[in-house]
C-alpha cells in the first residue's frame, strides 16, 4: 500500500531531518515507529500527510490504491486525504468559530464528492456522527463545540480518532496519539483504533512508549534514530526498547 524509498527531507531551507528512510506497509498491517525525541518520527508522518513546512530532498513515496500506484509527493494534502491517507495530529489544532459538526461533515462530504458517492444531508450525518462518537465514548455535546477549543488533551486525541472513524482512511499515521492520555483514555482510544482496524487498511503508530502497544498489537516495530531506521523487528523490539532505551540501537 505504501512504499517509501530512500526518503531524505528537511524543514524548508533547514538542516536535514530524514536521512534515508525506506519502509513498506501492506494492507492489514499495523506498524509501530519508536525513537528518541528529534529522531524524525513526527516529520515522517507530516511528510506523508503533505505538511508544507517540510521539503523532500530525495527519495520517493508511492501509495497504491486499487492497484494504481500514485506518487504521493506530487499530491496536494487534501487529495492525499481524499485518497485515504490520514494523520492524527500530535497537537490537534484549535479552530475557534467552527463547530465540530460543521467541520466533520465538510470533511466527510469532500471525500464523498471525490469518490463520486452521494453527499450526506445534515440529519443523516448527525445520526452517523453520534454513532461514531459512541465508539469513542464521547459526549454528544462535542458536536456543537468549536473544533478542539477548550478540549482537554484526552478529548483532543479522541477527537482525532473520531475524525479517523468518520473519514475511514486506508492508511493512518497516528502521531503520538497516546501522549498525554491517562490509562482510561488510552484504553478508549485504543479500543476505537482496534475497531477501525481491518484487512483493508493499515495503521502506523508513532509512539514513545510500549504501553500503547499492549492495547494495539503491531505486526512490525521500527526504531528511528537520527533520521534513519536502525532496527525493524516484531513486537518484542518494543519491549526491549522499554527495558534498554535507544542508546544500544543508535550505536
Amino acid at each position: 500500500m505504501l512504499q517509501i524509498k530512500d526518503l531524505e527531507a528537511r524543514v524548508v531551507d533547514g538542516a536535514p531531518i530524514l536521512k534515508g528512510i525506506s519502509l513498506t506497509i501492506k494492507a492489514g498491517e499495523v506498524h509501530a515507529i519508536m525513537g528518541p525525541n528529534g529522531s524524525g518520527k513526527s516529520t515522517l508522518s507530516k511528510i506523508v500527510a503533505g505538511h508544507p513546512d517540510y521539503e523532500v530532498t530525495s527519495g520517493t513515496i508511492e501509495y497504491e490504491f486499487n492497484r494504481k500506484p500514485k506518487d504521493l509527493l506530487t499530491m496536494a494534502p487534501e487529495d492525499r486525504a481524499r485518497e485515504g491517507v490520514f494523520m492524527a495530529f500530535q497537537y490537534p489544532v484549535e479552530i475557534p468559530g467552527v463547530s465540530n459538526s460543521v467541520f466533520l461533515r465538510a470533511a466527510f462530504n469532500e471525500i464523498c464528492r471525490y469518490q463520486g458517492v452521494e453527499e450526506m444531508d445534515p440529519i443523516d450525518f448527525d445520526t452517523f456522527l453520534k454513532e461514531k462518537m459512541k465508539l469513542l465514548e464521547m459526549d454528544p455535546a462535542f458536536v456543537d463545540r468549536y473544533v478542539n477549543v477548550d478540549f482537554s488533551g484526552g478529548e483532543k486525541k479522541r477527537n482525532e480518532i473520531l475524525q479517523m472513524a468518520i473519514m475511514s482512511p486506508r492508511l493512518s499515521f497516528l502521531d503520538e496519539t497516546d501522549s498525554g492520555l491517562d490509562v482510561d483514555s488510552m484504553r478508549i482510544v485504543a479500543d476505537g483504533v482496534n475497531k477501525l482496524r481491518s484487512e483493508h487498511n493499515a495503521i502506523v503508530l508513532i509512539t514513545h512508549y510500549q504501553r500503547l502497544l499492549n492495547y494495539i498489537k503491531p505486526d512490525v516495530v521500527h526504531v528511528i534514530c537520527d533520521g534513519r531506521i536502525v532496527r525493524s523487528a516484531g513486537p518484542e523490539l518494543a519491549l526491549e526498547v522499554e527495558e534498554r532505551g535507544y542508546d544500544w540501537l543508535a550505536a
Binding site: 500527510a49 503533505g50 505538511h51 508544507p52 513546512d53 496536494a76 494534502p77 487534501e78 492525499r80 486525504a81 481524499r82 490520514f86 494523520m87 495530529f89 490537534p92 489544532v93 479552530i95 475557534p96 468559530g97 467552527v98 460543521v102 467541520f103 465538510a106 470533511a107 469532500e110 471525500i111 471525490y114 468549536y146 475524525q163 473519514m167
Partner: protein, 435 residues
C-alpha cells in the same frame, strides 16, 4: 461638487410645500456645510480616508427613478413586520408594506408626519444642533427631503424588525442620495430596525445617510445597518444615538459594498444604568476602502458599553477603524470594552486601526485593543489534511473568525440576513481566487 445647485433642486422638487422651520433647518445645514467644506486628509478624523473623489465628481439629484427588483435583494433584507422601500432616493409605495404594525408603533414618511405630527417630527429632526454637525451630516441636513420616522409609544413593543430598504439603480448614475431616518423609542418601549443600503448597479453614485436614534428611559432598540452598495459607489453614513437612563442599544453594522465607504456611529449615553453594544463586520475585496469611526460618550454613571468590530480583507483593499470611548467626569462606575480585530487574506490588504480612550472619571473600568493578523498556516493545513480544499479551508476559518461577532446579534431574522451576506462575500472570494 456644486452643493447649492443640488440644494435648489431639492427645494424645487418640494415646490415650497414645507414649513418654515423645515426650510430654516435646511438653510442652516447648507450654511454649516459651506463653512466646513469637505474634509481633507489633514483633518485628524479623515487622516486615512481621502474624499477628493467626492469633490471632483458632479453629483446631482437623481433625474428619474429606475425599476427596482426586490427579489435581487432577498438576502440583504429581513422579512420584517413592515418594509419601506426607497428607490434612487424616492419612496416607492408599490414596493413598500406598511399594514400590520402592533399597537403603539408608528412608521411614517416625513410627508405624512408633517401632516399628522409635525411637532414630534420637528423635535426629532432638531435633536442635535446643526452647529455641532460635521460636513457630511450638515450636507444631509441641507438636502433634507425624503425620510422615515419610526416611533414607539411608551411600553410599545415590536421585536420583529421594521425593514428600511434603500435601493440604487442604474438611473442614479452621478446622483447624490441623502436618506434620513429617525427612530424615536419611547419609555420602556422596544424596537428592532434594519436599514439596508443596497444596489443593483455598478454605476458611480453617492449615498450620504443620516440616522438618529432616541431611546427613552428603559427603552430598547436593536438597530442593524447593512451597507451593500454598488462597486463604484461612495457611501457615507452617520448614525447618532442618544440614550436615557436604563435604556439599551444593540447596534450592528455589516459593511461589504462601495468603492469608498465611511460609517460613523456616535452614541451619547445620557442617563445612568444604560447599556450600549456596538458590533460590526466589514468585508472587503480588491480595491475597496472602508472606514469606520465610532464614538461612545459616557456622560452618566453606572453605564456599560461593549464593542467588537471585525474586518476581513481580501485583495489590495484598505480598512480604517477608529473607536473612541469618552468617560466624562460624572460617569463613575463606567464599564467600557472595545476590541477591533482584522484578518488579512491577502498580502496587499491594509488596515489602520486606532482605539482611543479619554477618561475623566476615576472609578471606571475600560479596556480596549486591536489586532491585525493572517490565518494560521497550521489551521489551514489541519483542514486540508481532512480533505478540505484550500479555498474552502480559508473560507471556513474566516467564517469562524466572524462567528463571534454574529453570535452577539439577538434577532433571528437579522442573523439570517447577516449570514446570507457573509455567504455572498465568501462566494465571491471563492470565485475570485486569492487575487
Amino acid at each position: 461638487m456644486n452643493v447649492s445647485s443640488v440644494y435648489e433642486a431639492v427645494t424645487a422638487r418640494r415646490n415650497g410645500a414645507a414649513p418654515d422651520w423645515w426650510r430654516r433647518l435646511r438653510a442652516e445645514g447648507l450654511e454649516r456645510f459651506e463653512y466646513l467644506g469637505l474634509p481633507t486628509v489633514r483633518d485628524e478624523e479623515w487622516k486615512y480616508t481621502n474624499v477628493r473623489t467626492i469633490a471632483d465628481t458632479e453629483f446631482g439629484l437623481c433625474g428619474s427613478v429606475g425599476e427596482a427588483d426586490l427579489n435581487v435583494f432577498a438576502t440583504q433584507r429581513t422579512q420584517g413586520i413592515a418594509e419601506l422601500v426607497f428607490v434612487d432616493g424616492l419612496y416607492s409605495a408599490e414596493a413598500s408594506r406598511l399594514d400590520t404594525l402592533p399597537e403603539g408603533i408608528r412608521v411614517d414618511r416625513f410627508e405624512d408626519a408633517l401632516d399628522r405630527d409635525p411637532d414630534r417630527l420637528q423635535a426629532c429632526l432638531t435633536r442635535a444642533a446643526v452647529s455641532d454637525a460635521d460636513a457630511f451630516t450638515s450636507l444631509n441636513i441641507a438636502l433634507l427631503d425624503n425620510g422615515v420616522l419610526i416611533r414607539a409609544d411608551a411600553d410599545a413593543t415590536c421585536t420583529t424588525p421594521i425593514q428600511l430598504t434603500f435601493i440604487t439603480t442604474a438611473a442614479a448614475e452621478h446622483a447624490l442620495m441623502s436618506p434620513r431616518v429617525l427612530i424615536d423609542a419611547g419609555i420602556n418601549s422596544r424596537l428592532a430596525v434594519v436599514e439596508s443600503h443596497v444596489s443593483q448597479t455598478d454605476a458611480s453614485y453617492m449615498t450620504n445617510h443620516l440616522t438618529d436614534i432616541l431611546i427613552g428611559r428603559g427603552g430598547q432598540v436593536e438597530y442593524c445597518l447593512l451597507q451593500s452598495q454598488g462597486s463604484a459607489a461612495v457611501h457615507v453614513g452617520t448614525t447618532r444615538v442618544w440614550q436615557e437612563a436604563d435604556s439599551r442599544l444593540e447596534a450592528f453594522a455589516l459593511e461589504t459594498g462601495a468603492a469608498l465607504g465611511r460609517q460613523n456611529l456616535v452614541i451619547q449615553i445620557e442617563g445612568a444604568g444604560a447599556h450600549a453594544s456596538l458590533d460590526g463586520i466589514y468585508l472587503l475585496h480588491e480595491g475597496q476602502h472602508l472606514d469606520n469611526h465610532t464614538s461612545v460618550v459616557h456622560h452618566q454613571p453606572s453605564c456599560t458599553s461593549d464593542q467588537l468590530y471585525k474586518g476581513i480583507l481580501n485583495g489590495a483593499s484598505r480598512a480604517v477603524f477608529n473607536g473612541k470611548i469618552f468617560v466624562e467626569r460624572d460617569a463613575q462606575m463606567t464599564n467600557a470594552y472595545q476590541l477591533n480585530r482584522n484578518l488579512l487574506l491577502h498580502p496587499k490588504a491594509k488596515v489602520d486601526t486606532k482605539p482611543q480612550l479619554e477618561i475623566y472619571a476615576d472609578d471606571v473600568r475600560c479596556t480596549h485593543g486591536a489586532t491585525i493578523g493572517q490565518l494560521d498556516d497550521e489551521e489551514i493545513f489541519y483542514l486540508r489534511s481532512r480533505g478540505i480544499e484550500e479555498t474552502s479551508a480559508i473560507t471556513m476559518l474566516a467564517r469562524g473568525f466572524a462567528a463571534e461577532v454574529l453570535g452577539r446579534v439577538s434577532g433571528e431574522e437579522t442573523v439570517k440576513m447577516l449570514k446570507g451576506c457573509l455567504d455572498g462575500y465568501f462566494f465571491e472570494y471563492a470565485r475570485r481566487g486569492d487575487a
